[in-house]
Amino acid sequence: MSTSVQQVNAQSESVRWMDFEALEVALTKETKKVFVDFVTEWCVYCKKMDRVVFRDPEVIRELNANYYCVRMNAESQDSIKFGGRTFINREVGLKRNPTHELPLLLGSREDHPFTLPVIIILNERFEVVERYFQYISPEQMKTILKI
């Protein structure tokens, strides 16, 4: 199987983020664990994670080598085709901080309002293994990723 995915150097210095549409393409080529990160422009903890956790060389190496990493703006207004369905942001024009259907689906909890950051880890069969709803330090992330 010769796909471009394998051609990418796993040692590159940043996490290779892709979006859900790219993930769909990638998963058709090769199954892998999936790491999903929902963020917004105003989420300071998301920014903090971007600046410290996702710049840690060990975290980057592990994520790039063994996961498809998806980052999505939770307030995106795009229609996203994924898994044969189109997901949209149904809250546009209804809420000041409209949350897209996809993060709501994957990141909602009972008894808790939707909050960021949301980190979701899925296995090779695309089943949710873990969900995290708070800031994760580099050390905690290494434990989670079993580095």
Partner: protein, 787 residues
């Protein structure tokens, strides 16, 4: 819909894709935007199932299972999707490059809505008006004094042309009726109350919470009018910021400001620190060209740091240290030594503030334990005096003896326990507060040597029997001991007071409908006899200093405050609306009232006495309207319609048979307009620009003016003011690491400013009212990594 469903669909589609792996043709090429390759773009066929990912150099190889005329789509986050139609035959290899266009829409509006002004009100039983940093920025506020008027019921006024003494009036009541808190701690002493509002730079402020009327039992019993709580920033991100502001006051006086902030927070968020610094230099301003200042010369340097450390997830240790050095001088001939001028008020403050606090949360997250200690220490060199227009040996001796110094220490320590029982919260605590002030001007034989000790115990229960009703029941017991000695020339007074006073508080909130809340409350407060801020300040009248001293047998002042409010808030789609109507009724018993006793000192100086006045009531309505049809437009309007009056005529000036001048009395409170308010409108057309229109209205009021050497008063009904400011700001995000903000505008566009200042060396320096400055042009620049 569950996660399972989406996962199932996804799985099915992937399994299908994974089986089809026979390639018959290949397309390869590079994905670019603005000639730069785009890494990791996804390339796929529109009606088939073939796909590929570009590498980090934008190069891709797409193997096709279907041939013929096909549509190929390229997707990359932050760019518009692009589709190209190609015809390819089996066995062929084709080169195909893509050039994507950046998607400039999308995220933009999110940033704006989330980080800028939003209409909101906390779901608390006590009405809290929050001043956010945005309003301080919108009004180009340099110090807290500038921005504080943008909450209903709050008015900041300047009280002296010679020194720029400012005070905050809440619901019309003078400065000492309001407790100013720094991070919820009462380190703001009477001395700091004189000039402190101008000493707190806005670049350290996260928000200011204004509570009108004594709603909470947690804060001191002297918070009769309310509390102003200045909360400083607690960072998450590593940021830095350098800012400058240049203003031209009245086309003449320059005001320069430099600010520095930086925050460093550990990767695990378990420790962090913030440094801040501020330097300001303001030239003096003379509005009427009489050679005497209306706005004083100011030099202020503030810097400090604030750090926290979390030994574990349940505890936090916080520490802060800051220093304020402030020099101010007003009067005439500022280039000469003070004793050679007609009037000089010169103050040099050195203030250190330190604090430490420790928080611990129980394992089950229901109990919070807090212990804290904060202190402020100020030394002040002062000069209140001058030749006063005379040139005799006597004038010279008096002028040479007007130097003084002040030492002031405040120390506050306490413990607090908060226990949550499901929806209900019980809070109790013990707080010890020490304030020791020694103010000495040997030349006038002026002395304030005062020690105030207070020990407060409080308990409060937040009872929430249903989702619709909240009651806040609390009380505090304060034991206050005042030991003070006060002298001026041959007058000497002392206070030896100790008493325990119980101050109950009660607040209720009921949610009538989804959008409508009603609240009601009662608070009792008291003030022990002691010297407050105005007593530490000396103004000048008729070329002589005018002193304030406590009267003999001054008794405690008591207050009963009732409030009732109705709050309507509505969000329909992205429209937000919030309306607050609040009624207040406060009665004062034995209010501390300053009465001029005329020129009774041997040297002809006027003495004002703080006496227990006749009973008074202050009542009226605060209103606040917030309206925002969408995140780009925001309007806030607030104000106060009130009456403040004594039950019978209150003496302001005591005449004497000797001078033949009569008594002057008034039933209305002086310097308290019946109508005042603010306006705050923001237009944020896009991410780069925002335009703010802000303003305050000060209704007509009665302002006393001394018109003779003996201190005889004239009561002037002064005209209203409308102080309107316009600011335009532009943001440039070069990278996430480097952002530049440029701003400019005009403060007090209509130049609504007092036009009847007293003139010359014998002027009444207290005869000052209305907006703090005339028309002022400003430009500002800020750069750094803000977020």
């Amino acid at each position: 819909m569950t996660i399972r469903t989406i996962l199932t669909w996804s799985l099915i589609s992937f399994v299908v894709h994974l089986n089809a792996q026979e390639y018959s043709a290949t397309i390869k090429g590079t994905v670019r935007s603005n000639k730069e390759p785009i890494a990791y773009a996804a390339i796929r066929t529109l009606h088939g199932s073939d796909g590929a990912l570009a590498d980090k150099n934008g190069k891709y190889i797409l193997n096709l299972t279907r041939t013929g005329t096909i549509e190929i789509e390229v997707i990359s986050q932050g760019y518009r999707n692009l589709v190209k139609k190609v015809t390819i035959n089996s066995g062929e290899t084709m080169d195909l490059d893509f050039t994507l266009i950046e998607d400039v829409l999308g995220l933009d509006e999110v940033v704006v809505s989330a980080t800028r002004n939003r209409v909101e009100r906390k779901n608390t039983p006590v009405v809290v008006s929050t001043l956010r940093p945005q309003i301080l920025t919108a009004t180009q506020s340099i110090s807290l004094a500038d921005g504080l008027s943008y909450a209903p019921g709050v008015r900041v006024e300047t009280n002296c042309q010679n020194c720029g003494f400012t005070q905050v009036r809440l619901n019309g009541l003078e400065g000492p009726y309001t407790q100013i808190l720094l991070n919820s701690r009462a380190v703001f002493t009477s001395l700091l109350g004189v000039y402190g509002l101008e000493q707190i730079p806005t670049n350290t402020i996260e928000r200011v919470e204004v509570v009108r009327s004594g709603g909470s039992a947690l804060y001191g019993s002297n918070a009769i009018a309310g509390t102003v709580n200045v909360i400083t920033k607690d960072p998450v991100l590593n940021t830095w910021e350098v800012g400058g502001n240049l203003s031209l006051i009245g086309g003449d006086a320059v005001d320069r400001l430099l600010t520095l902030n930086t925050s460093v927070v550990a990767d695990d968020l378990m420790s962090g620190l913030t440094f801040f610094g501020n330097y300001r230099k303001r030239d003096p301003f003379d509005a009427n060209d009489d050679g005497f200042t209306e706005i004083v010369e100011l030099r202020n340097t503030t810097f400090g740091g604030k750090a926290y450390f979390k030994p574990n997830d349940r505890s936090r240790l916080g520490m802060n240290l800051s220093a304020i050095r402030e020099y101010r001088r007003g009067g005439d001939r500022l280039d000469l030594a003070p004793q050679f001028t007609d009037i000089t008020e010169e103050l040099d403050h050195d203030t250190f503030i330190a604090g430490i606090d420790y928080d611990l949360v129980s394992r089950d997250n229901t109990t919070n334990f807090q212990i804290y200690s904060s202190s402020s220490h100020t030394t002040r060199d002062s000069y209140y005096g001058g030749l006063g227009g005379g040139r005799t040996a006597q004038d010279s001796i008096l002028a040479n003896n007007a130097f003084g110094n002040t030492k002031d220490l405040a120390w506050i320590s306490g413990v607090q326990v908060t226990k949550n029982f499901d929806e209900n919260v019980f809070t109790t605590g013990l707080e010890y507060n020490l304030n020791d002030t020694k103010d000495l001007i040997p030349g006038y034989n002026k002395l304030i040597d005062q020690n105030v000790n207070s020990l407060g115990f409080y308990a409060q229960y937040e009872w929430k029997p249903t989702q619709k009703f909240v009651a806040l029941l609390g009380t505090r017991l304060d034991y206050v001991k005042v030991d003070g000695l006060y002298t001026i020339a041959d007058i000497s007074r002392d206070v030896n007071f100790d008493d325990a006073v119980l101050s109950p508080r009660l607040t209720l909130m009921y949610q009538l409908t989804k959008n409508l809340k009603i609240r009601g409350g009662y608070a009792r407060g008291f003030r022990a006899p002691q010297a407050f801020n105005e007593d530490l300040h000396i103004s000048s009248v008729g070329g002589e200093p005018q002193f304030v001293i406590l009267s003999e047998d001054l008794e405690s002042e008591f207050s009963n405050a009732f409030t009732g409010s109705i709050n309507f808030s509505r969000s329909k789609d992205i429209l937000q609306m919030d309306l607050l109507l609040e009624g207040f009724y406060t009665t004062l018993k034995n209010p501390f009232t300053t009465v001029s006793t005329g020129a009774i000192l041997p040297n002809g100086s006027i003495v004002k006495e703080v006496r227990n006045g006749v009973g008074a009531r202050v009542y009226g309505t605060n209103f606040e309207l917030g309206f925002s049809p969408d995140p780009r437009w925001q309007l806030q309007l607030g104000g106060t319609l009130q009456k403040a009056e004594y039950e019978e005529a209150q003496l302001l000036f005591e005449g004497s048979d000797f001078s033949g001048e009569m008594d002057i009395s008034i039933t209305e409170f002086i310097r308290t307009p019946n109508l005042y308010g603010f306006l705050n409108a923001a237009w944020i057309p896009n991410e780069t620009y925002n335009i703010d229109l802000t303003g305050t209205y000060t209704g007509s009021m009665i302002v006393p003016r001394v018109i003779s050497d003996s201190g005889f008063l004239q009561l002037n009904n002064v005209n209203p003011f409308f102080d309107l400011n316009l600011k335009i700001e532009a943001h440039f995000d070069f990278t996430e690491e480097f952002i530049v903000t440029v701003s400019g505008g005009v403060k007090n566009i209509f130049d609504s400013f007092q036009d009847d200042f007293d003139v010359g060396p014998t002027r009444d320096s207290d005869y000052i009212y209305g907006p703090a400055a005339p028309r002022t042009l400003f430009i500002g620049l800020k750069f750094g990594r803000f977020h």
